[in-house]
Subunit: 498 residues, 2 copies
Amino acid sequence: MQNTDLKIFNTLTRTKEVFKPVNPPFVGMYVCGPTVYNHVHLGNCRTFISFDIVYRYLLHLGYKVRYVRNITDVGHLVNEEEMTGEDRIGKMARIEKLEPMEIVQRYTNGFHDVMKQFNALPPSIEPTATGHIVEQINMVQAILDNGYGYVSNGSVYFDTLKYAKNHKEFGRLSGKIMDDLQVETRDLKGQSEKRHPADFAIWMKAQPEHIMRWNSPWSVGFPGWHLECSVMSTRYLGDKFDIHGGGMDLQFPHHENEIAQNIGACGHAPVNYWMHTNMLTVNGTKMSKSLNNSVLPGEMFTGENDVLAKAYDPMVVRFFMLQTHYSSTLDFSDEALQAGEKGFRRLMEGYKTLQSLQHKNGKVEESEDQAVTEECQACYEHMNDDFSTPQALAVLFGLVTRVNTYKDKGGVVSSISKETFDRLNKVFRDFIEDIFGLKEEEGADEEVVDGLMQLIIDIRQSSREKKDWDTSDKIRAVLKELEIQLKDGKDGTSWTKA
Amino acid sequence: MQNTDLKIFNTLTRTKEVFKPVNPPFVGMYVCGPTVYNHVHLGNCRTFISFDIVYRYLLHLGYKVRYVRNITDVGHLVNEEEMTGEDRIGKMARIEKLEPMEIVQRYTNGFHDVMKQFNALPPSIEPTATGHIVEQINMVQAILDNGYGYVSNGSVYFDTLKYAKNHKEFGRLSGKIMDDLQVETRDLKGQSEKRHPADFAIWMKAQPEHIMRWNSPWSVGFPGWHLECSVMSTRYLGDKFDIHGGGMDLQFPHHENEIAQNIGACGHAPVNYWMHTNMLTVNGTKMSKSLNNSVLPGEMFTGENDVLAKAYDPMVVRFFMLQTHYSSTLDFSDEALQAGEKGFRRLMEGYKTLQSLQHKNGKVEESEDQAVTEECQACYEHMNDDFSTPQALAVLFGLVTRVNTYKDKGGVVSSISKETFDRLNKVFRDFIEDIFGLKEEEGADEEVVDGLMQLIIDIRQSSREKKDWDTSDKIRAVLKELEIQLKDGKDGTSWTKA
């Protein structure tokens, strides 16, 4: 298999393109990470899991990938205590005040926990916006030096009109024309300071109520929202790198402005392949607080949300996401998740069954051997086709059916060659472990222990009734060894583990 | 119990002092965290676990603690490729070069994993040195403005002679006098730029081979080693905060210079209580690579190190550390760890046993009731005595003996009052769960499943021999339900779980 077989749908050109890294075997990939002022959103998780698959597949292909995913830890948090003027006592005591970095730490930890539960590989570098203030100031200066920014009342704005005049590609990523580009109205405050409504802040002078603020040549302030990704991506991947990803809601204005900033600072476009993941819905509608259908990842794992009938293991949710291509809308519903759970278990059981099969040289059925070979190959081909996980999964399920047939026929496989049998094993290992990153559900052991203990308690009961003291003595001895205590009560026998 | 009962040994005064926070109920605590250019050292783990206990106990006392532990992610890494001049091709391609932040990320992740295994609570804020370059530049400027620094060839040095003249406490923390203070020779290169050998760099001009570098008013360079902690502690805790901790090897020069920097910048000492943890030895000698007796935390958990006879659960290691006071040397040996393992299990079993006891009103034995009450109280008193975990543990073990006696007498407790019985339960919960942060060993389930399955396989075998089909049918049905498959072979029966 040639690495150059991989095709990626590039949002910039709206075509599937053969993937050619700038400096093979190195690949640089940047993904816009979470804003850590709240719990990570399930939709964000979908994006990060999608790019985890991209990362894993590139690694599988043998690329040396530097995967950078940022943490947005600087926002517009204001000190409400100070604003209301109610707490003057604490003014000298920094420790009594709201500290944004405490919030940042809590939600960063929570985000990492969730990503770990989803078995997503950690990125190579996870830079924070506040960790790159000097570099952001440098880029603002470079944009000013190149004539694409202007200072207004201590803030610095990107001059979109001038940029659009020299760079016709402005709007290309999002498919917007200059008129559309005026709709960015996040920063109402700055409208009067701007020369054009589409201009956006690259450095903001801090209002008195802003807590996070740094010295700069223009004002004590903070970097504009779009700047950090321009800075951190090129800081770690160079000013021309391979893949930039994110949710499709970031295409405009975030990514459009990112491109403008990079070109404004260094004269050329930063990214060769732009990838965008599609949105997530719940029972067919957008997830939103006002619709009361928001589900946090943690709630999904515990089932503590009215939208859900039950808890779903992180691995089930991950598998469920892989059943839909990253570029399509993904709908969460109990029904679909429960079907996903069945599918996940069928796949994992198939893998276990495969590992229990034995190959024996015998009469090879050529047509079957060829079919298995082709199906194995097809899995990789589907991944090469813009990471089509649902199609690769479909083929894997066909192979699960074959595996189950081999088992039903006695577990010894002779109808395919040893080579093909080995390839079949490799495909399952490659896909389940390396590429899809699936593993056994958590807490499985606990359920098993409960089930086995109930069985043993029942056997103990019946052996006592039959006066089969050998068996009940043996049970007592083994349980003692395992430090398990039985307690006979009115409502039957319970057990505890020391 | 009064919070003011807590006494802390203050390195600065070399006495145990009553703990009085600057702004109760708030407490600010800063601990020097790891340098993430390598695996975290077991000695560091001891320090962090010691301060985890301090943190947990302060929380238990009802304080609102902001616990800041930094990550040192800027060091003196040089780009060897560039130095040897062998790789000119890659010069334009940043991605092919050594990226310090990739190393930082890997070891930060590893550090977090280890801390989680040790069940250490995450700090409230975990700031990085590279994330506070602007603030460090600000402090260098403040020190210069106050006349305690000088610029020499693009680097900035702290003027220790001038500082010592105005501030007689220089050397107080480490007990060193000015002559001793000259021994800091880490930075040989800067000797010619210094006015006095004890002077230390607060900003270093970067040599060409240094990769991590930032713009500053003095040079493109990087902050001095000691500066980050002065900056990050006061950034998040205010310029006068309660507790500063670290390993005792940091007393000099790191903490001594930290104090000098803070006083140099803002005119007064930053910290009220300095706490230092003692060192860790292995089989009586210092752990070092040259002695080939280094043990990584991960190796301790897997047993994959020749120094160890077996693996130790993180909870066993944590418990083992608590058996020695943080201010004493702690020696790791297989013998001591195995004793620790027994002790840990005895304590946890005692806790389980206590939970199985029932109280019944009856004749209270006054002397016993009073003894239990006093022993419960003693646990907290020992913690109030500079966090004496070994003494608190000793009392807890006395209580375990009592608990086991209650169990031997039938598990129903009448000889102490309900109030005392409840207090006994509270002490165990407080100490084991909240203060000591101990929990069941990991992987325990797996061993149990193996043991139970072996028992079930044996029962199945004997029931077949006895033609007890009821039992063997029941076993078959339950195992099928649990998706466990048995496989009868020449060497007996094995099992797999789907």
